[in-house]
C-alpha cells in the first residue's frame, strides 16, 4: 500500500500549518518578551504575606521590608549607609528634659488615592502602633509615647517612658505611616486587597506568593523613580534565581550562592555587587556547663580563625567581627579585638585540665542551608576546636526549632545564629542578644545585666553608646558570645541598570536607575 496518499499529505500540511505558529509563539526567547515592556523585574527570594507593615509576624521580617519601603513611607527615612534623613517627618526630636517629643510632618505628601497626608494620619499611626491590642510587635517601643497634640504640621507627645532608640525605630520595623481614613474604611481584610501608601510606588497587582507589580506614583513627594513599572517575582529557589538572571528574564536578583555570584559577575552583560549588610553570624553561648568555665569559652574564641573561614568558605565575602556591632553600627569599637591564637587556647584549656587527650565535650547546634555555608562554617569551627582540645558534636536543626529553644532558654551550650539590625543601634543587637530578660538571649547572667540594664533608659546618648561599647568589651573579655562575621549580600544585576547597595540589605526599586 502506498503510504504517500493525497489525504495524508493534506493532513500533514494542515497539522504543520497549525503547529508552526503555535511553536513559534511558545518558543520565543524570553528576552524578547521582557524587552517589549520597559519594566524593572526583580527575582526576589521571599514572598510577601501581608500588606500591613505594622502588625503581625510579617511586620518584623527584615527580608520583606524592601516591598514596604517601595509602597509606604517611614516616619523617618534612611540613607543606604544607615544614616537617617527626613521621611514623612521633616523634623523630629526631644524637648530639653526628654519628657516630650516634637515632630513636624511634611507638607505636600499624598496618599495613593490622591488625598493629602496629614498630621492626623501620623498621630493615628503612632497611636495604633502603641495600642497593645493592635498586634504591633514593637508595641513595647511605640507605647512609650502618648497624649498626642497637633498644631498645624507640628505634633507633640508625652514621653511615658524614655526610649533612647525611639526615633531610630521610626525608620525601622513597623515604623510606617498608614492612612487613617483609607485603613479604617477598608478594615484589615479589605486593606490586603487595596493597600494605600504614600511611597514612590503604588500596588498595581498582587498575586500572593507569585508576584507584585508596582506602578510609579505620579504625586510622590520625593524624586521620581526611574522605572515606571516594577515587578517583584517570587523565586524561592536559589538555583532558579541564578537561572532567572542568567537567562535575562529578570534584571536583578539577590542571595545567590557565592560560587555562582563569582561566575555570574564575569559574564558579559551582568554586574555583581557583594556589599556588607546589617546581618551578622554568631555563635550563642548558653550559660550551662561546660560554658560556665571561662577558660573553655575563651579557648573556643581564640582557636577560631575567622579570617580563614571568610576567605576560604565564603570566598572573601564577609567581614570578621569581634563584637556584635558591625562596623556601620553606632557602638562599633574597632579597638575591641579578639586575636586568633590557638596556642593561647591550649594554655587556657590546660588550666582547666583539658587537652587533646582529654578534650572538653559539648554539643553545638546549627542550621543547614538557612544562611550561606552555615553548616560548613560550623564544621570548620569544630575542626579548629578539635586541634586545641575541644570536641564538639554538631547537631543540625531547623530555624523554627532554634527559635523555640531560644525562647525557653533551651539551646545547646553553643548554637549558631544570625542577627540582623537595620537601625544599627546597639540596643537591638547587644541589648536584645545579651540582656537576660530578653527572650532572645542565651547567656543570662547578672553581671551583663548590670551593664546593659541602665542603658535602656539612658538619656545621654553619648553615655549610652559608651556604655554599650563597655558592655561589648566586657562580653568579649569574658567570652560570653562568639561573633564571627558580618555577612555580605550578593546582588547580581544587568549592567544596563545601576544599583546602589543598602547596608540594611534592602532592594529599593526607587533607587535603581538605568546605567
Amino acid at each position: 500500500m502506498n503510504p504517500f496518499t493525497r489525504r495524508r499529505f493534506l493532513q500533514a500540511t494542515g497539522a504543520a500549518a497549525l503547529t508552526a505558529p503555535l511553536a513559534n509563539s511558545l518558543l520565543v526567547p524570553t528576552d524578547a518578551h521582557a524587552q517589549a515592556a520597559k519594566v524593572l523585574t526583580i527575582a526576589y527570594n521571599v514572598a510577601l504575606p501581608s500588606w500591613d507593615p505594622t502588625t503581625g509576624p510579617s511586620a518584623v521580617n527584615p527580608t520583606i521590608q524592601s516591598f514596604y519601603k517601595a509602597v509606604f513611607d517611614s516616619y523617618i527615612d534612611q540613607e543606604p549607609d544607615l544614616s537617617f534623613k527626613p521621611g514623612l517627618l521633616t523634623k523630629w526630636g526631644w524637648n530639653k528634659d526628654r519628657t516630650k517629643i516634637e515632630l513636624e510632618v511634611r507638607k505636600g505628601a499624598f496618599w495613593h488615592d490622591g488625598s493629602a497626608v496629614t498630621p492626623e494620619d501620623v498621630v493615628w499611626s503612632l497611636e495604633r502602633a502603641g495600642d497593645p491590642n493592635s498586634g504591633n510587635p514593637i508595641q513595647f517601643v511605640w507605647g512609650k509615647i502618648g497624649n498626642f497634640a497637633i498644631d498645624g504640621q507640628k505634633i507633640t507627645a508625652d514621653v511615658k517612658e524614655f526610649e533612647p532608640s525611639l526615633f531610630k525605630w521610626m525608620a525601622f520595623l513597623t515604623g510606617y505611616v498608614l492612612p487613617k481614613k483609607a485603613y479604617t474604611e477598608a478594615g484589615a481584610q479589605g486593606w490586603e486587597s487595596k493597600p494605600i501608601g504614600s511611597g514612590p510606588y503604588m500596588v498595581d497587582k498582587f498575586e500572593r506568593n507569585a508576584f507584585i507589580r508596582l506602578k510609579a506614583f505620579p504625586k510622590y513627594w520625593g524624586p521620581k523613580p526611574a522605572f515606571e513599572t516594577v515587578v517583584f517575582k517570587l523565586v524561592g529557589d536559589a538555583s532558579a534565581r541564578v537561572a532567572e538572571i542568567e537567562s535575562g528574564a529578570s534584571d536583578l536578583t539577590l542571595e545567590v550562592p557565592y560560587e555562582e555570584f563569582d561566575r555570574l559577575k564575569m559574564k558579559s552583560g551582568l554586574t555583581g555587587v557583594a556589599h556588607p549588610v546589617s546581618d551578622i553570624g554568631m555563635i550563642f553561648i548558653t550559660n550551662v556547663e561546660p560554658m560556665l568555665d571561662m577558660n573553655v569559652r575563651l579557648a573556643m574564641i581564640h582557636s577560631i580563625d575567622k579570617k580563614a573561614i571568610v576567605d576560604k568558605l565564603l570566598r572573601g565575602y564577609g567581614t570578621v567581627i569581634d563584637t556584635l556591632e558591625a562596623p556601620q553600627y553606632a557602638a562599633f569599637d574597632p579597638s575591641i579585638k579578639v586575636k586568633y591564637d590557638p596556642e593561647l587556647a591550649k594554655q587556657l584549656l590546660a588550666k582547666s585540665g583539658f587537652s587533646s587527650a582529654n578534650p572538653v565535650k559539648f554539643t553545638i547546634q546549627t542550621t543547614r542551608g538557612f544562611k550561606p555555608k552555615d553548616y560548613e562554617m560550623i564544621q570548620a569551627v569544630v575542626g579548629m576546636w578539635r586541634k586545641v582540645g575541644i570536641e564538639a558534636n554538631i547537631e543540625t536543626y531547623e530555624i523554627a526549632k532554634h527559635f523555640e529553644l531560644r525562647m525557653r532558654h533551651g539551646l545547646a551550650p553553643a548554637a549558631f545564629y544570625n542577627w540582623g539590625n537595620s537601625i544599627g543601634d546597639p540596643s537591638t543587637s547587644t541589648g536584645f542578644a545579651m540582656f537576660s530578660h530578653s527572650p532572645h538571649s542565651a547567656w543570662k547572667t547578672e553581671d551583663v545585666d548590670k551593664m546593659i540594664g541602665p542603658l535602656w533608659g539612658e538619656k545621654d546618648e553619648k553615655k549610652r553608646i559608651e556604655g554599650y561599647k563597655a558592655a561589648d568589651r566586657y562580653i568579649a573579655e569574658n567570652g560570653y558570645v562568639i561573633p564571627l562575621l558580618q555577612y555580605s549580600q550578593p546582588v547580581v544585576h544587568k549592567s544596563s541598570i545601576k544599583f546602589t547597595p543598602h547596608v540594611a540589605g534592602f532592594i529599593l526599586p526607587q533607587a535603581i536607575k538605568p546605567a
Binding site: N209, A249, F403
Partner: protein, 335 residues
C-alpha cells in the same frame, strides 16, 4: 456503577479523612518548631507570648485543640493561617486551580506521549524503534521529576532561553481572572495572548511532571497492547483486512487501556504530591508551593488544611478512576 455504590464509597471516605486529620494534627504538633517562637519580635515578653498562644488557640491541650478544630472544619472553617493571616480555606481554594491545571496538563501530556510511544513500539515490534522506546523509557524512569525540572531550567531556560522558568503568568500582562482556572478561562474568553503565555509558563513544569509518568505508562500500555494484539478478536479483524495501525488505535488500544487507566489514576494522586518540589523549583503558585512555605513557617492551620486537601483529592481521584474503569470495561459496569 450505581448511585448506591458511589454513596457507599463517599461514606467510607469519611473515616479515612478523620484518620488523616488525626494523624496530621498530632504530627505537626510533635515535630520540632514553635510557630509562636518564630513570630516573636525583639523585646517580646512572656505576656506577649501567652497572648499570641491564646490568639491561635495553642494554649489548650492537644485533644481540646483537635475537637475545636474538627468542629470548625465540619462547619467549613479551616482556621486562619498564622503566617499569611488569611482563611486557610480561601488560601487553598485560591491556589488549588493552579495545581489542578498543572497536573491535568501533565497527565494529558503523559498520556499522549505514552500512547504514541507504546503504539509506536508495538507497531514496530522487533525493530529498532521499539528498542529506542524501551531505552528511553528506562532512562526517563531513572531520573526523578525534580531533576528533569532542573535540566529543563538549565537547557530551555538558560542555555536556550526559549521558555520562562518561573511563575504562572507574565506579571506585565493585564489579565483579570474571574476564576483560578486561568488556562480554561482564557480559552473560553478567547484571550489568546494570555493563553499562550500561560502555556509557555506551564510547559516546563508540566513536562517535568509528565515524563516519568509517561515512561511508566508506556511500559504498562505496551505490555497490555501486546497482550491485546494476541487476542482472538484482533485475529478476527486482521482477517477482515484491517491495517495494523487501525487495529492498534481502534481495536486493541481500548482494551489495553484498562490497566493503564488504573495506573494513571494512582499516579495522578502521587503527581499532586509531586507538584510540591516542581512548583517550588519553578516558583509556580500552586498548593505545592504553599505547602513548602507552610512547613517552613510551621503554619499549623495551613499545614492541616493542605494535608486534608491532598487527602480529599486522593479519594476523589480514586473514585473517578473507578468510574472510568466501569466505562471502559462493560464487565465492571454490569457487576
Amino acid at each position: 456503577m450505581s448511585i448506591n455504590y458511589l454513596l457507599k464509597r463517599l461514606l467510607w471516605a469519611l473515616p479515612t479523612l478523620v484518620g488523616v486529620a488525626v494523624v496530621v494534627f498530632v504530627l505537626v504538633r510533635v515535630v520540632p518548631g514553635d510557630p509562636i517562637a518564630m513570630m516573636l519580635p525583639p523585646g517580646a515578653t512572656a505576656d506577649d507570648v501567652g497572648r499570641l498562644r491564646a490568639l491561635y488557640g495553642l494554649d489548650a491541650p492537644i485533644a481540646k485543640q483537635f475537637v475545636v478544630w474538627m468542629g470548625d472544619v465540619l462547619r467549613g472553617n479551616f482556621g486562619t493561617s498564622i503566617s499569611l493571616r488569611d482563611g486557610v480555606g480561601s488560601l487553598v481554594l485560591s491556589r488549588l486551580p493552579a495545581t489542578l491545571e498543572l497536573v491535568l496538563v501533565a497527565v494529558a501530556a503523559a498520556c499522549a506521549l505514552a500512547a504514541v510511544a507504546a503504539v509506536g513500539a508495538v507497531f514496530f515490534r522487533g525493530r529498532w524503534p521499539e528498542l529506542v522506546v524501551d531505552g528511553v523509557t528506562g532512562l526517563v524512569l531513572a531520573i526523578p521529576d525534580f531533576l528533569w525540572g532542573l535540566l529543563f531550567i538549565l537547557v530551555l531556560g538558560v542555555l536556550l532561553p526559549w521558555l520562562p522558568i518561573s511563575g504562572r503568568i507574565d506579571p506585565t500582562l493585564d489579565f483579570d481572572p474571574a476564576t483560578g482556572f486561568y488556562l480554561a478561562e482564557t480559552l473560553v474568553r478567547l484571550q489568546w495572548t494570555t493563553f499562550i503565555d500561560l502555556l509557555r509558563h506551564m510547559l516546563l513544569p508540566a513536562l517535568a511532571l509528565a515524563l516519568p509518568l509517561a515512561a511508566a505508562l508506556t511500559r504498562v500500555l505496551k505490555g497490555s497492547l501486546i497482550d491485546a494484539m494476541n487476542q482472538d478478536y484482533v485475529t478476527l479483524v486482521r482477517v477482515k483486512g484491517y491495517s495494523k495501525a487501525r487495529i492498534l488505535w481502534r481495536v486493541a488500544l481500548r482494551n489495553a487501556l484498562i490497566p493503564t487507566v488504573t495506573l494513571t489514576g494512582v499516579q495522578f494522586s502521587f503527581l499532586i504530591g509531586g507538584t510540591v518540589l516542581i512548583e517550588y523549583l519553578f516558583s509556580y503558585p500552586g498548593i505545592g508551593n504553599l505547602a513548602i512555605a507552610a512547613v517552613n513557617q510551621r503554619d499549623l492551620p495551613l499545614i492541616q488544611g493542605l494535608v486534608l486537601t491532598f487527602a480529599v483529592l486522593f479519594i476523589l481521584t480514586n473514585l473517578v478512576v473507578d468510574m472510568a474503569y466501569s466505562i471502559l470495561d462493560p464487565k465492571v459496569r454490569q457487576a
